[in-house]
């Protein structure tokens, strides 16, 4: 029987990502990884990571924080690497050399997912490898020192698009990778946040139970890059969800479902003001920029609800 996803049962399980890694104090990435591996606790898993904060800090020779088989190949190829591992698994299983039911999970930052690794990810999904790809999205290249990525939100201050007198942080919108992944027509795509851990773990569990390619995008605060208090990762991710900056939803076999609807949608300023990377937006005369962000969020949220509604009404009419 599957281990129930509650604290009492999960606390009895071994943590397969150990303490002693060298990620920053308060970094959300190890928390997210522990949640993923706990959700996968009933299976043996093989994990592939892309180059990035998580990778460089979790396996510094001659130590490793991974109690599961783990491979790091390069920055842009976690999905392709895991394609190889998973294919070898199928080959050896077919030959009767392996009989275990192993799950394959790629865990990579937003840079390695939205940008440089996008081709490799898209290819692996299209080839229908049986794997779960998780992006821990900290919204910038953190390992190289907070440079903008395709996931960096509009007007965030980063080292390559610094908020200056003329340009107020990143001028462009973030890439909506979750939607792009859903457009691949794969069986399961979701967005999750460590603040809503039962939702996150349920999504991981569900994904692992589905055969074929799956993608989960996890909001993962970085206190260094976002200039937040060290112990605020969960609080900030909760604000992201409650302001609908980071909606929690899933797209299962093409059907969109919002998995958390805030009773009262908070204004985005609450999310922005807690972070140093948006500090410049609170200077006098910049009110328009915050309003613009709010407008973008509202539009996306409404569109998402409509999308959900569209599928719901179809299902009813069947």
């Amino acid at each position: 029987m599957a281990t129930p996803l509650n604290l009492k049962e999960l606390s009895k399980k071994e943590l397969r990502f150990t303490s002693g890694h060298r990620l920053c104090a308060g970094c959300a990435a190890p928390t997210v990884v522990k949640m993923i591996l706990l959700a996968a606790c009933d299976w043996p898993v093989v994990v592939a990571s892309a180059t990035g904060c998580l990778e460089v800090s979790s396996c510094i020779s001659t130590y490793t924080a991974w109690k599961v088989p783990w491979i790091h190949n390069a920055f842009e190829n976690a999905a392709a690497t895991l394609s190889g591992v998973e294919t070898m698994y199928r080959a050896l299983k077919k030959q009767g050399k392996i009989d275990k039911d192993i799950k394959f999970i790629a865990i990579s930052g937003d840079g390695g997912t939205y940008d440089i690794g996008f081709q490799s990810l898209s290819g692996a999904m299209e080839r229908w490898h049986d794997m779960l790809y998780v992006c821990y999205d900290n919204e910038a290249y953190m390992n190289t020192g907070i440079q903008r990525s395709g996931a960096t939100p509009t007007y965030a201050d980063t080292t390559t698009c610094p908020a200056g007198a003329v340009i107020p942080g990143k001028p462009q919108q973030r890439k909506d990778l979750t939607k792009i992944m859903a457009a691949h027509g794969i069986p399961y795509v979701a967005q999750a946040s460590p603040s809503h851990w039962p939702d996150l773990m349920k999504k991981v569990r569900k994904a692992l139970e589905i055969e074929g390619p799956k993608f989960i995008n996890v909001f993962t605060p970085c206190n260094r890059g976002w200039r937040t208090r060290t112990d605020d990762a969960i609080l900030i991710s909760r604000l992201a969800v409650e302001t609908c900056f980071w909606p929690l939803y899933e797209v299962e076999n093409g059907v969109t479902k919002v998995t958390f609807k805030p009773r009262e949608k908070k204004p985005v300023v609450e999310f922005l003001k807690a972070q140093g990377r948006f500090k410049h937006l609170f200077e006098p005369g910049k009110e328009k920029l915050i309003a613009e962000i709010q407008e973008m969020i509202d539009k996306n949220w409404e569109r998402l609800l409509k999308e959900e509604e569209m599928f719901a009404s179809k299902e009813e009419s069947q």
Partner: protein, 393 residues
């Protein structure tokens, strides 16, 4: 019983793959390699092999998937040419650094720009320092034989390194030649069962692949890695000896052709060696003591053996089918020069660049080089150290 057939180089190598039956093969098309993987994919489709194919979206992912598959714990192969090899470049170092015994035929082709699909060696030469073992092949038979031996060399427990098998695009890949195939069973027995080392799929004994190594250890790890390459020549020779038993064909670190008593010599890789040998025979008939050295194991370069084989000659021309732009000489020349530099008595060396982008290497080119070497041996005078030959005026 061996079977004699007339096939292209690509078909011969595809058949070697079929007989070896890797567990996983990644493939991405690029001329002139494409046909090799197409033929192999047909073997997979027809159920002649159990291999799982990964039909990736790029060569970068082909090599990345090979790294994952090899680390997972099985026999892995892919193949490429030119731009494909260039796109793999980053991961080539990772494959060798992680000691993964991947085998990859490289069907040699020129690099862009300008784009050109025909043969030269600039692709493999660009990857010569990536830590891959490189075996070079004069004809389809050698490409077939080298492919079979490559798996044994790569997977040898003293080695565990990836191997490239180089053969000339179109000249070998697409020309039909007489080939002696070994029996399927003989090849299977020769290559043997794959022995995984620290497989990722051994979930009860988890291993971490690809750690970060900082200044305190990186230097030491690299030194240890470099030591492995010293063991390669012996393994290559041992595997060749065993291969002779099943095939009757002899292979070494390099081929010496009429070199023992030679006074002048040519060093050349791959298919052009065949033409050169014919021309050498003509000159020998006229009493001119000319010989040839054709490197087979180009990486790691067996410089002691090569140096000893050439040191007594008076004049040697190294023919490069690739240039090293902005560098002094062609890549093969540099290794030959380095092999000879510590001998007191050594031949005068010249470097000629030939055959780029598929330009034909004709008997008269070999003749021109030999005539020049005769002159140098007589006078000790060199007109020009490095020069392109066969250039249209």
């Amino acid at each position: 019983m061996t079977k004699v057939v007339a096939v292209t180089g690509n078909e011969a190598v595809a058949n070697a793959f079929r007989q070896i039956e890797p567990d996983v093969c990644a493939a991405y098309p690029i001329t002139p390699q494409t046909e090799l993987m197409q033929r192999f994919a047909a073997f997979v489709s027809n159920g002649q092999v159990k291999t799982e194919m990964i039909l990736v979206e790029s060569e970068h992912s082909a090599m990345s998937a090979c790294v994952g598959a090899a680390a997972a714990g099985g026999r892995v192969a892919t193949a490429t040419s030119s731009q494909g090899l260039a796109l793999m470049w980053e991961i080539l170092f990772i494959a060798s650094g992680l000691r993964l015994p991947i085998v990859m035929p490289v069907v040699n082709r020129a690099l862009s720009a300008p784009i050109n699909i025909h043969c030269d060696h600039s692709d493999a030469m660009g990857a010569r320092d990536s830590g891959w073992i490189q075996l070079w092949s004069e004809n389809a038979q050698e490409a077939y034989d080298n492919t079979i031996q490559a798996f044994r060399i790569a997977e040898h427990m003293d080695i565990r390194l990836p191997v490239m098998v180089c053969y000339d695009g179109f000249i070998i890949s697409h020309s039909i030649e007489r080939i002696e195939y070994l029996d399927d069973e003989v090849v299977k027995k020769f290559v043997g069962e794959y022995k995984p080392l620290y497989p990722l799929l051994d979930v009860d004994n988890p291993k971490s692949y690809g750690p970060l190594i900082l200044t305190d250890l990186y230097h030491e790890v690299r030194k240890a890695h470099s030591e492995v390459y010293k063991k390669v020549p012996k393994v290559v020779v041992d595997v060749a000896k065993e291969f002779k038993k099943i095939s009757g064909r002899s292979y070494g670190l390099f081929e010496s052709y009429r070199l023992d008593d030679a006074e002048i010599g040519i060093v050349i890789l791959n298919s052009a060696a065949g033409t050169t040998k014919d021309v050498i025979d003509e000159y020998r008939e006229r009493g001119i003591k000319v010989g040839l050295l054709k490197p087979r194991l180009f990486r790691p370069f067996p410089y002691e053996e090569v140096g000893n084989a050439l040191k007594n000659l008076k004049a040697v021309c190294v023919l490069d089918r690739a240039d090293a732009f902005g560098g002094s000489f062609g890549p093969l020349y540099l290794d030959i020069a380095a092999s000879l530099c510590n001998f007191k008595e050594k031949p005068v060396l010249i470097n000629r660049i030939y055959g780029l982008g598929g330009r034909d290497y004709m008997p008269e080119h070999a003749q021109g080089v030999i005539d020049e070497l005769i002159e140098i041996a007589k006078t000790g005078k060199v007109k020009v150290l490095k020069e392109y030959i066969g250039v249209r005026e």
